[in-house]
């Protein structure tokens, strides 16, 4: 079956290709269905190919060569098929299919409908390239292509200047991360002489020094921080909400942004040699988690809340993989894909219903108009808040447990995680309450309505997944752990503490945090606006700081972008045009000047000429005669 694995990438790619060239000839829904079909087929193919892993037993990871690309640096097109990539592929294609489906409804009536699905399919192909790649070179192909698709999709409504700027910002900030990632790749090649996973991991023990491993780990962290929106490179993700909501769901929640987590997990054998780099991953994750969570508390834009929430949750995943609890990290990646996609799609449904209104202050009471959306989003909110037995509880708890068990610095991170969990529960519940409860605060002329079936169906499916997905890895039954084991062969994994006592204690704590957060939000926000405004004012300047995301964008603008631009202008207009080119033109000018002044010698007076002649003669004569004496 793995012989046909390339179809997983090829199917959506073909979909994109067909849609690109012939999309305009298809009627509107047809192109959407085509795209959905392509990615659904990819899901089927990957599911079938993954069957051996589900069956358990000793299943070897497979490398499937496709064609040689840059053999000189060991970067070729080859696929890696092991449980980790299988899981990622399933998540991508599965969640992707649902989001495609949703988008058929959401993008209804857009004049570039087929173009949207072209990009979606292209994105799916790129993301699958990323996760199925058999070496870092090919991984980087996918890594960059998803960035491209993100650029295209964020800037889909290109006539909005904010969208175009956000798209550019997303790509550029990602590129800054890539700067590190690329250098990491160079170090990898310089160290191992190849880029293929198998080649590298075989030699990790023998060739890799701690120094090199740390370098690679930290450099990969830079790249991962860019792609997965970690501090300090997370700033692009909230802006990326300018894109259509299915894009936010697919790219900026479920799949692309998790690529960083994937890379760290994939590079587990290298991180295993570099505890400092691992620790850095965890610390960055922790900082991001609490930092973004705090910002999310005060956001009023429905999608921005989700964006900062995503950043925060990605921080969780980083904490997990940083603590070498790779399974926990990947587990959270998976569950997060479900409930966050659900949240985004739900938000999309709301925005769709509210005629593109995104300000939660102008919503309220929607539960009656949109029961399905309200219910599914409620489930997702509880899931992300970590309320048992929903999916988020299990995965989050496993991360927290692993941090606790690891001890030392990681114990401090555990506290951070716990606080973040509290905040997460609060702001998610706040959102849910603001949108669906209370009295309607709608603008004039807005008539919310439940979304069509094509949009609600994915919501329902995802809601189900958000409920049940947690059970794949519980202290009762570590299914996922066993499933992923072949991918982390030879790497020691961090686990939560053994024993029910500890589990119940820790789970109790995190559940308490979740419940407390939800309850606080309910109490604070299920009231008239004046009341919750007073509540917010109670936080004083802190709330303003959160509302403005700690003014980080302004900070970057004044410290990096502004000086950078002034520097570039200095280089372009002073140094280049004035200095270097001025020197070049100065040479020309000098010749002209010398020529002009020499012209003065040619006075037109024949006797002057005679004198010049005589002078030359004298010099020659004296020179020659002097040689003779």
């Amino acid at each position: 079956m793995t012989d046909l694995l390339w179809l997983v990438i090829a199917l959506p790619l073909a979909g994109a290709f067909v849609l690109h060239f012939f999309g305009r000839y298809l009627r509107e829904p047809l192109s959407g269905w085509l795209a959905t079909g392509a990615i659904a087929a990819a899901f089927v193919v990957s599911a079938v190919a993954a069957v051996p892993f589900f069956q358990g037993g000793d299943v070897e990871a497979e490398q499937i060569a496709i064609w040689e690309w840059m053999p000189a640096i060991g970067a070729n097109f080859e696929l890696q098929w092991d449980p980790l990539s299988a899981l990622m592929a399933l998540v991508v294609t599965g969640v992707g299919s649902l989001i495609h489906l949703f988008a058929i409804g959401y993008m209804h009536g857009d004049e570039r409908f087929h173009r949207f699905f072209t990009y979606l399919n292209l994105f799916a192909a790129s993301m699958l390239t990323l996760v199925l790649a058999g070496n870092y070179g090919m991984l980087f192909v996918g890594w960059e292509l998803v960035g491209l698709c993100s650029y295209l999709l964020v800037g889909f409504w290109y006539t909005r200047p904010t969208a175009a700027a956000a798209a550019k910002k997303a790509f550029v900030v990602n590129r800054i991360g890539d700067f590190g990632f690329l250098i990491g790749l160079m170090v990898v090649f310089a160290t191992f002489g190849t880029m293929s996973y198998t080649g590298i991991f075989e030699r990790v023990g023998s060739e890799l020094t701690t120094g090199a491993a740390t370098a690679i780990g930290l450099l990969f962290l830079v790249g991962a921080a860019g792609k997965s929106a970690q501090v300090p490179l997370y700033v692009w993700l909230p802006d990326a909400m300018e894109g259509p909501t299915p894009v936010s769901a697919l790219i900026h929640a479920a799949t692309m942004v998790t690529a960083g987590v994937y890379v760290v997990a994939r590079s587990a054998p290298i991180y295993a040699e570099a505890p400092i780099a691992s620790g850095a991953v965890a610390v960055i994750g922790a900082i991001t988690a609490i930092w973004a969570a705090s910002i999310a508390i005060a956001q009023s834009d429905i999608k921005r809340v989700l964006a900062y929430s995503t950043v925060s949750q990605l921080g969780y995943m980083f904490m997990g993989v940083g603590a070498t609890a790779y399974v926990a990290g990947v587990f959270h990646l998976m569950t997060h894909a479900f409930f966050k996609a659900l949240l985004f799609l739900g938000a999309g449904s709301v925005i769709h219903a509210m005629s593109d209104e995104q300000d939660m202050h102008k919503m309220g009471g929607l539960r009656r108009r949109m029961p399905v959306t309200a219910a599914t989003m409620g489930i997702a909110t509880l899931a992300i808040a970590g309320i048992p037995p929903l999916a988020g509880f299990w995965s989050k708890d496993e991360i927290l447990g692993s941090l606790f068990e690891r001890g030392g610095m990681y114990a401090a991170l555990w506290i951070v995680g716990l606080v973040t969990a509290l905040m997460t529960a609060f702001y998610m519940a706040r959102q849910w309450v603001l949108v669906f409860w209370g009295e309607p605060r709608w603008e004039e002329g807005v008539e919310p309505h439940e979304s069509p079936r094509v949009m609600t169906l994915p919501l329902i499916v995802l809601a189900v997944l958000s409920i049940v997905a947690g059970f794949v890895n519980t202290p009762l039954r570590f299914t996922l752990e066993h499933f992923l084991e072949p991918a982390f062969e030879g790497v020691s994994l961090q686990h939560p503490p053994e024993g029910w006592g500890m589990f119940l204690l820790l789970a109790g704590l995190s559940t308490l945090a979740g419940v407390a957060g939800v309850a606080a939000a309910w109490l604070a926000y299920n009231r008239p606006p004046q009341a919750w405004r007073r509540f917010q004012d109670g936080f004083g300047r802190l709330w303003t700081a959160w509302e403005n995301a700690y003014w980080v964008d302004d900070l970057y603008a004044t410290t990096i972008v502004g000086p950078g631009r002034r520097g570039a202008e200095l280089a372009a207009f002073q140094v280049d045009a004035g200095g270097i080119d001025g020197a070049v033109n100065g040479v020309g000018w000098l010749f002209q000047r010398v020529g002009q002044s020499l012209r003065g010698l040619q006075t037109g007076y024949v006797r002057n000429y005679g004198a010049g002649f005589a002078a030359g003669l004298l010099v020659v004569a004296i020179w020659l005669v002097a040689r003779g004496i």
Partner: protein, 98 residues
Amino acid sequence: MTDWYMILAAVLFLIGAMGILLRRNALVMFMCVELMLNAVNLTLLSAGRALNDLDGQVATLFVLVVAAAEVVIGLAIIVSIFRQRDTASVDALSELKG
């Protein structure tokens, strides 16, 4: 003795050359050229004598002929210019320059 002839010739040559550079009357300048040619003649002749070679004298004759031919053309040019401009000063002829 020969050296003195040669020195005399050199002095005459030098005076002629200076005359060309110092006088602006075309005719006088031209006379200075003749002076220089005479100096050359003296040189040729004296050298020929010192070398016991008659060729020096013969060469003198050729220089003399050349001088004569130059005179013809030079004076023709000067006359031509004088007819047009009423001056024999070469300093007046400095339109072409630069």
